[in-house]
């Protein structure tokens, strides 16, 4: 099974460990993983900033890089939503490329969804024994229905889940929103941090690095150096250090 790994621009630049964790999870399950070296970004930052043409060019680039894979997997609900939903339902709707993009969308999976529903992974290397609280990222949750999958993985790998209040509420990241309207974004992150504090877990875990950077950034600014912030891939792959 030839699986293309879409790293995502944020993981590539900021936290490569998440990419290697995803790679390990896929390889441990017996996948032949392809990582196209030319990949950069799915185009969502452009798309949501109104730069439709750049978003379309990038979508085509992703298509060319991954179209020969049996599956494409990304450790992000946000990029996956872009490629599974927005590219076919909006950017290329009614255009000659639509069919190709639909084919790509059909074999494109968010990582937890792929591990649970395609690979049916049950043996995971994770050894994190603390309590975790899970933040549902908006795009994964509302565009792709990612809710139970990462939790199932975390529990399989031995974590205890302490659910926080309003786990489904946006953390305030929103891509460029976090910079353009930083003050509102910060307040939303603060609300999230309060709920994380009440849940009292050793680590807050999520499936999108953008949200995680936002949450971690606010926790640290508040002086909380203790609460760990992980991508679920790092936890279930046993790569939290």
């Amino acid at each position: 099974m030839k699986v293309g790994l879409f790293i995502t621009c944020l993981v590539d630049l900021v936290r490569p460990n998440i990419g290697f964790a995803a790679l390990k999870l896929l390889e441990d399950a017996g996948c032949e993983v392809i990582v196209p070296a030319s990949q950069t970004c799915c185009g969502q930052p452009g798309y949501n900033s109104g730069a439709r043409d750049i978003a379309k060019t990038l979508a085509k680039k992703v298509l060319a890089e991954f179209k020969d894979c049996d599956y494409v997997v990304a450790p992000s609900g946000s990029c996956s939503g872009q490629m599974k939903l927005h590219v076919v339902e909006d950017l290329f709707k009614g255009e000659p490329e639509e069919a190709e993009f639909r084919a790509l969308a059909a074999k494109w999976y968010e990582l937890s969804d792929f591990l649970v529903n395609v690979l049916k992974s049950e043996k995971l290397a994770g050894k994190f024994k603390g309590t975790v609280t899970y933040h549902d990222s908006c795009a994964g949750l509302r565009e792709l229905g990612i809710k139970t999958q990462p939790r199932a993985l975390l529990e399989t790998s031995g974590c205890t889940l302490n659910e926080m209040q309003d786990a489904e509420k946006c953390c305030g990241f929103g891509g460029t929103f976090s910079i353009k309207l930083g003050e509102i974004s910060t307040r939303m992150a603060e609300n999230k941090c309060v709920n994380i504090g009440v849940a009292g877990a050793d680590a807050v875990v999520g499936g999108d690095l953008g949200c995680l950077l936002n949450i971690e950034g606010r926790l640290r600014r508040n002086g909380d150096m203790k609460t760990k912030v992980y991508h679920f891939a790092e936890v279930v792959a046993g790569m939290t250090e």
Binding site: N48, C170, L181, I184, L213
Partner: protein, 473 residues
């Protein structure tokens, strides 16, 4: 209403630090969010009704002219007079004309957002007519000389204490402390106005083509009194409010109060059809219906036409994390939250409301709760596309997107740039691996640290690993 949407960012900043508002917003959440969830849970085919209602509203918008003409014909048949207003100014002139022609001195009003939109009260009061708002929230705001901050609960931003203060000063009575007494006092104050008014002005939640009926939903019953007691009843409503049949109303009313406040039904459904018939004891001698366009036809047939499905329940704002933190006044015009971020640029110009379509994380909650499935994030994104094409966003923002766009399309250059960027930013993070301030993204670093990059990109690490594997073989 005067447009203040251009000041969204500054106003929002003030509102984030307004303790009274923040308390009020937190309090209202339980009714609007938890209440709605309970109301929706009562209905086992909620999704089917939404789908049906969205299609129904689409059908109306696609045939708006035909349904409006049918409505007009049936309303006239029942003795009403129908007026068409293309602009806010025309609508105001029509209502004022009706009032002056009939020597109207006093007017009672039930809640109407369209009249806020066209700033009708200002016109009437300016002409020397006394106008009384009779919806409790609107009455409070009239005393406070403030605009509504919410389309369903206009005074949701005010505390009980603030209202007590207003009532004490306006009613010249001792200060009250509990809500039931305050409500009773307001009722006593309003009663004489209801009985003495020459004309009643109402809005309409829907207007029904097959019968010529206008419909208003309230929890206070004030619309009943406004529409039946005075000798003249004037309805001011947007042209998109038309629905084909009473049965369609039966469908939509299952969605509206549940979406708005989790109620399965409102306390009062006020249906008004024509003037008082010779054998009837109640009702107005004259009924005027002013159908207001004021920008709505610009949406018909455009890529934003889905917005015309809106039935004004307020669920999108109630669930919006931005609205929940800044409240309605920050949006600077009549319609707050996601629906406002789509409508305000349409009605007052994108140049006056540039931040609104950007005031969203695209979390998608608004779309999920919308009873008529309006794809609000998509519509806000369309505004962003127009802003980008028209170069309406600040230079720095546009330059950043163009620069980013240049690099991401060129993998080799991008690899080089990210290698350098990851190293520089990693060094900036120091021992704590946190960047405390970064020019260009100070919107982020003012309230948050930026976790520093690891130092090397995934792709270079992966390439090095693969090369090592090759050598080992």
């Amino acid at each position: 209403m005067q447009v203040q949407s251009m000041h969204f960012k500054q106003t929002a900043s003030t509102k984030l630090n307004d303790a009274v508002l923040q308390k009020a917003l937190k309090k209202s959440k339980s009714k609007f969010v938890d209440g709605r969830a309970l109301g929706v849970a009562e209905v086992d085919n909620w999704e089917d009704i939404r789908t049906y209602a969205a299609a129904l509203r689409d059908r109306v918008i696609d045939n708006l002219d035909a349904y409006l003409i049918e409505f007009e014909r049936n309303a006239i048949r029942r003795g009403a007079q129908v007026h068409w207003a293309e602009t806010a100014e025309e609508a105001n002139a029509i209502v004022l004309g009706i009032a002056q022609k009939n020597a109207v001195k006093t007017i009672t009003k039930s809640k109407s957002m369209v009249t806020e939109e066209i700033a009708l009260n200002g016109t009437l009061i300016g002409a020397g007519i006394r106008v009384m708002e009779t919806d409790l929230g609107e009455y409070i705001l009239q005393l406070a000389d403030e605009a509504p901050s919410h389309i369903v609960a206009p005074a949701v931003h005010k505390s009980k204490e603030q209202v007590a203060e207003l009532f004490m000063n306006a009613h010249h009575k001792p200060r009250l402390t509990d809500i039931p007494s305050m409500t009773r006092e307001a009722r006593e104050q309003l009663r004489s106005h209801f009985l003495g008014a020459d004309m009643g002005i109402s809005g309409a939640n829907f207007i029904v083509a097959e019968t010529g009926t206008t419909l208003t939903v309230t929890n206070e019953g004030n619309a009943d009194l406004v529409t039946t007691l005075p000798r003249i009843h004037c309805v001011v409503t947007g042209i998109e409010k038309v629905i084909p049949t009473m049965e369609d109303f039966a469908t939509l009313i299952r969605l509206l109060p549940r979406s708005a406040i989790g109620q399965s039904i409102v306390n009062y459904l006020t249906l008004t059809t024509g003037v008082k018939a010779p054998d009837e004891s109640d009702g107005p001698e004259q009924m005027h219906i002013v159908l207001v366009d004021a920008g709505r036809t610009k949406l018909v047939g455009s890529d934003m036409k889905d917005m015309l499905r809106c039935i004004r329940c307020g669920a999108c704002m109630n669930h919006c994390p931005v609205y929940q933190n800044v409240g309605g006044h920050a949006y600077g015009w009549v319609y707050p939250g996601p629906m406002g971020s789509v409508l305000t640029p349409t009605y007052v110009g994108i140049e006056n409301a540039g931040d609104l379509p950007n005031a969203a994380t695209f979390c998608g909650e608004c779309q999920v709760v919308c009873p008529v499935k309006i794809p609000l994030p998509d519509l806000m994104r369309k505004w962003r596309e127009r802003q980008f094409d028209m170069k309406l966003r600040p230079f720095g923002e546009r330059a950043a997107i163009s620069l980013w766009g240049f690099f991401v399309q060129r993998p080799r250059l991008y690899a080089l740039a990210t290698r350098i960027g990851a190293r520089v930013a990693s060094m900036m993070g120091g021992e704590q691996k946190l960047i405390h301030s970064l020019p260009g993204i100070d919107g982020w670093t003012q309230g948050r640290d930026m976790p520093a990059p690891a130092g090397e990109t995934f792709r270079e690490l992966y390439a090095a690993k693969s090369a090592a594997k090759q050598v080992a073989r």
